[in-house]
């Protein structure tokens, strides 16, 4: 329940407001996690916030977190330097059902920072590529400047066993790619709707439209998973902050089968 100190060993600037931190434990420690889980990251004296684990699950000795600076704690996280120490509690929460999806086509839909919790899932799928059917990554960002993991995206795009489609809401100079919201990529993705599992993460409104577009192509809400975001203080089901209808997002989620939460997802201000 108390944070353990981890040392920042690398800081990578992703975009103007987002950084990726690589952490190593201050004492030898293996940290197994499942794709989709998150940690509570604590900055000395400032506070603690939930941040998804965005590293490769095959590397449990190093933690990777991608953080977008939006407020006090995330700004402090983004200003950490190599050698600094953060407190870590975790891993918490449910995971993308990567094993259940074996034998199926996998469609990953990410909006903005929503790619961070999906990255470990994609790593897992690629490491076990033979076990899956078609694999598709659909990724939308606000502008080309907001794209995360740029080099990796380019590398993934170069693969023949993976379809990667990227879109931006508004293009600037030098962008020759797709423009439009991420749902506009769904019709051009190559998958068999009856045999597909979809994993979706992004702003709620984006997830709402994505589920709709997937449904229109014939993917059942039973086969769609989304990752929810709620205020979190404890991450272990005590503080009550993350409640979403009957669910505690911290322990029952953050990853939910859409069909199971649909009833509450449709109501405003739940």
């Amino acid at each position: 329940m108390v944070p353990r100190p981890w040392r920042v060993v690398r800081v990578r600037r992703e975009t103007h407001d987002t950084k990726t931190l690589e952490l190593e434990p201050t004492e030898p420690l293996s940290f197994p996690f499942q794709p989709g889980q998150f940690n509570m990251l604590y900055v000395f004296g400032i506070g603690e916030v939930p941040i998804s684990i965005s590293g490769d699950p095959q590397e449990p000795h190093r933690l990777v977190h991608t953080v977008r600076a939006v407020g006090a704690v995330t700004r402090a996280l983004c200003s950490l330097k190599r050698g600094d120490v953060v407190g870590v509690r975790g891993p918490f929460g449910s995971a993308w059902p990567v094993e259940e999806a074996e034998g199926h086509d996998v469609v990953i839909v990410a909006g903005g920072i929503g790619l961070a919790p999906l990255r470990p899932a994609l790593h897992h799928v690629l490491a076990n590529r033979g076990k899956y059917g078609n694999v598709v990554l659909l990724y939308g960002a606000r502008t080309p400047r907001d794209l995360l993991y740029r080099k990796e995206l380019e590398r993934w795009r170069g693969r023949f066993d993976l379809q990667v489609e990227v879109t931006v809401d508004s293009a600037g100079e030098g962008w020759y790619g797709h423009v439009g919201v991420v749902t506009t990529l769904i019709p051009r993705a190559d998958f068999d709707p009856a045999e597909t599992v979809a994993w979706v993460c992004g702003p709620e409104i984006m997830m709402r439209f994505t589920v709709q577009a997937l449904r229109e192509r014939g993917v059942s809400p039973e086969d769609v998973y989304i990752s929810m975001e709620r205020n979190m203080k404890c991450a272990v089901g005590f503080c009550g902050h993350c409640q979403f209808g009957p669910e505690f997002v911290c322990k029952d989620g953050p990853v939910f089968r859409f069909a199971e939460i649909e009833r509450f997802f449709r109501v405003r201000e739940v």
Binding site: M1, V2, P3, R4, P5, R7, T26, Y42, F44, G45, I46, G47, E48, V70, G71, T74, G83, D84, V85, G87, I205, R208, E229, R230, N231, K233, C234, V236, G237, F238, C239, G240, H241, Q243, G245, P246, F248, K251, R263, F264, R266, V267, R268, E269, V270
Partner: protein, 389 residues
Amino acid sequence: MRLDLDLRATGQHVIDRGDFHVLFKALRRRGYQVVGPRVRDGAIVYDALDSVDDLPQGWTDEQDAGHYRLKRREDPALFGYVVGPHSWKKFLFPPHLRLWRARRNGDDPGFEVQPEPLPDTKYAFLGVRSCELHALFVQDRVFLGEKHADPVYKALRERAFLVAVNCTQAGGTCFCVSMRTGPKAQGGFDLALTEVLDGERHYFVVEVGSERGREVLQDVPHREASPQEVAQAEERVKQAEGQMGRTLDTRGIKELLYRNLEHPRWDEVAQRCLSCANCTMVCPTCFCSTVEDVTDLKGETAERVRRWDSCFSLEFSYLHGGSLRRSVKSRYRQWMTHKLATWIDQFGTSGCVGCGRCITWCPVGIDITEELRAIRESDGLTRGGGEEA
């Protein structure tokens, strides 16, 4: 051995009022800190008790929606009131609790986290009502989960000695009968008392609920209860059962609320609710908390403090960019739906034990039983307009 034979007769015992003070001594000798009801600032609150003289002898309370008043009784009953603004949760789930401290090591950017030592206080709760016992069971399910347990709650809860008191009189906002949580304590206590005043006689019929309870009772002068004494006690509890100030129909309650999340009654109650959070503070099962991270001026030590929070505050549902439950309507709906419906999915039990505190202590007299009734009576009525994005 003689004693065991005697026990078989009614299985219950009697402590006379004149010997009641010995219970305090017996508990204290075993290292318990006795906490229980006493009068303060015009209400009966729970706090440390030095002796039997601290109990609210001769007092009762008058309760209704938004109304609480202490009144003198005509008899010297010690437990002749119902429940006040406090509940036992304040002892096991302290309103303000430091979780840990962290210290920087000189110039090194690292720091060391020191967990707080676990409390070793042994509380004896004197005067736990049946609904309150159920509230403890409810919080046990919250804080003593299979995967995670709150260590402070666990340490205090395991040590706590519970002296239950069966209600012989119900309050104006009580509805434990509807919630099947009272008025008689059915288990989970160490000792359970029923206070009987009968003309000149004043005594307590005692039921033993645990081995610890049996040991404590050995130190207090007592005798076997006669069948008449047990009958007297039962009759008084029966009387309380018939006096419930409120009722709540729990049939299909979860689905009722789930299908009425858009019921216009939520808008209506939001017109009255001040979003003051009183109802959550007085509720014996509400468990929400928040944390504060602070540092000293030099920035060398930091600490995290946990304190009670409420789903009625705007910040409670804050995500960068704004709060999720902006309207009072959504916050009242969250609270009541949690108490009566989602709690059942979460913990396999209702989150409401029918103690009536939220009704009594609401400054504008909003009544959870009335709100539920209003929805039930117009089940299925929805706000026009349908889904909004």
